[in-house]
């Protein structure tokens, strides 16, 4: 999987949420997407997920443009926002059953029912598999989202602030899942404000500010240049 973003721009009203973005990410990379509120992180994730349409520019996956998504492209992209994209009135298990069927994972070589049970156990939801998703706490819902994408295993996994509601065990679970995904050649992009955590996990960092990419560097131990650039928007940091 290779993601190429070329001259990407998105306007809301009279306001550029993103402008002239040039990004190339290859499979196996884990990208930390950082930046203050309103920098355009979620807009970028939504554009990559195909939920909104760019005002200008293009996005390519392995060379194929995303402007009119094919089903194959959609199957390869996952967006994990904690608590979102789950049916509150379906049980945890039913949610997973529904989405695996939707992504046509029912007829693979593995028995999907077993896989669902195993995954539920693995994310620590075994006891709550029969509960409605709406009755789960926000942390458990987030674990359910992790279980969903674990089963669907997308080639491009986008995460929108996944850390906020997870406990320590949940974070470990999420991070080992993300590492496993990128080791399989998937691209992982995480937008987050939990800078220390996300930098620790990722192999590359990008900073957006006012819709522009102001920093983009692959990890070299330690994050020297990054720490300097990052001072630009931490509370108390001076420009």
């Amino acid at each position: 999987m290779r993601v190429t973003v070329h001259q990407l721009a998105k306007a809301y009203g009279y306001f550029w949420a993103l402008r002239d973005l040039e990004i190339q990410v290859a499979g196996g990379e884990r990208v930390a997407l950082l930046g203050p509120n309103g920098a355009g992180k979620t807009t970028l994730l939504n554009l990559l997920a195909g939920l909104i349409y760019p005002t200008r520019g293009e996005i390519r996956f392995d060379g194929a443009p995303l402007t009119r998504q094919s089903n194959a492209q959609r199957a390869a992209i996952g967006l994990l926002s904690p608590g979102e994209h789950l049916y509150d009135d379906l049980t945890a298990r039913e949610n997973l059953e529904f989405f695996t069927a939707l992504y046509d994972r029912q007829r693979g070589p593995i028995n999907i029912d077993n896989a669902i049970e195993e995954t539920l156990e693995a994310v620590g939801l075994g006891r709550w598999a029969g509960e409605y998703a709406g009755a789960l706490s926000s942390g458990m819902k987030c674990r359910l989202s992790v279980a969903k994408w674990k089963l669907l295993s997308p080639k491009l996994l986008l995460l929108d602030e996944p850390y906020g509601v997870l406990d320590g065990g949940g974070v470990d679970l999420l991070e080992s899942f993300l590492k496993a995904q990128s080791e399989q050649g998937s691209v992982v992009i995480i937008a987050s404000h939990h800078v220390a955590r996300v930098l620790d996990l990722c192999t590359r960092a990008m900073i957006l500010e006012q819709g522009k990419l102001i920093f983009d560097e692959t990890r070299r131990e330690p994050w020297d240049s990054f720490a300097r650039a990052f001072g630009a928007f931490t509370p108390g940091g001076n420009r």
């Binding site: 306007a11 809301y12 009203g13 009279y14 306001f15 550029w16 349409y53 005002t55």
Partner: protein
């Protein structure tokens, strides 16, 4: 040949429109003889028939603009559909008002559920729905694509609406006295046809003049937007 600028072209179009409207008024009001049965009230037909044809033309252009927009996502095509719809509302409403003015002396009522009147009223409602939709969707590209879908569906629906409304008035009820007779083209006075033709040309010119202004307005909106972008 010197290059004709957009402004100049519009000026020529506007002048031609004016000439044809004056000629049309002269022919329609003075030169053409009054109708044998309906007298002078028939003269409104010189406006009425062109306006309804223009209304249909608008629908067609909305359809064309909508298809093009969904296909290529060019703001220009959306502008065409939007502009055609706005002017379409004007001409559809005009058609109904003219019909009413004509209906009062001819049929004795302002309004009757005649097939043509009903159909025109439905067209007006569809156009208004289209504009309402545009006004109520905030996101611009979303408004454009939503409206484009409605424009396409509305256009596809028109033949069915047309058929059903005509059947409703003919199959269901016996033809009433209020039903307007079909225009007997062969018995028509040549001056009447000339007046109609001139007015038709005048309306088409007027329509495209208005549309070109409307398209320019759309472009200017885009320019303003580009300048105000932060």
């Amino acid at each position: 040949m010197p290059q004709v600028t957009g402004k100049k072209r519009k000026g020529i179009l506007g002048a031609a429109t004016l000439v044809f409207i004056i000629a049309g008024l002269y022919w329609g009001l003075v030169k053409a003889p009054p109708d044998a049965y309906q007298g002078d009230s028939q003269r409104i037909m010189y406006l009425h028939i062109p306006s309804i044809l223009i209304a249909y033309l608008s629908f067609f252009l909305v359809f064309v603009g909508s298809c093009l927009y969904l296909w290529k996502r060019e703001k220009r095509d959306d502008n065409l559909a939007y502009g055609a719809a706005e002017i379409g509302v004007l001409f559809t409403a005009l058609t109904i008002v003219e019909g009413s003015i004509w209906g009062r002396p001819t049929w004795g009522v302002w309004w009757t559920w005649d097939a043509r009147l009903t159909l025109t009223a439905i067209l007006l409602l569809i156009f208004i729905g289209y504009l309402m939709l545009r006004a109520l969707v905030e996101d611009e590209s979303r408004a454009a694509s939503s409206a484009a879908i409605l424009g396409i569906i509305g256009f596809l629906d028109i033949p069915l609406i047309h058929m059903s409304v005509y059947w409703w008035r003919t199959l269901h009820q016996p033809p009433s006295i209020l039903r307007p007779d079909k225009v007997p083209w062969e018995n028509i006075h040549p001056e009447l046809l000339t007046a109609l033709a001139i007015n038709f040309v005048a309306f088409v010119l007027l329509y495209f003049y208005m549309l070109s202004l409307r398209l320019r307005l759309g472009e200017m909106h885009e320019e303003i937007k580009a300048r105000r972008m932060r």
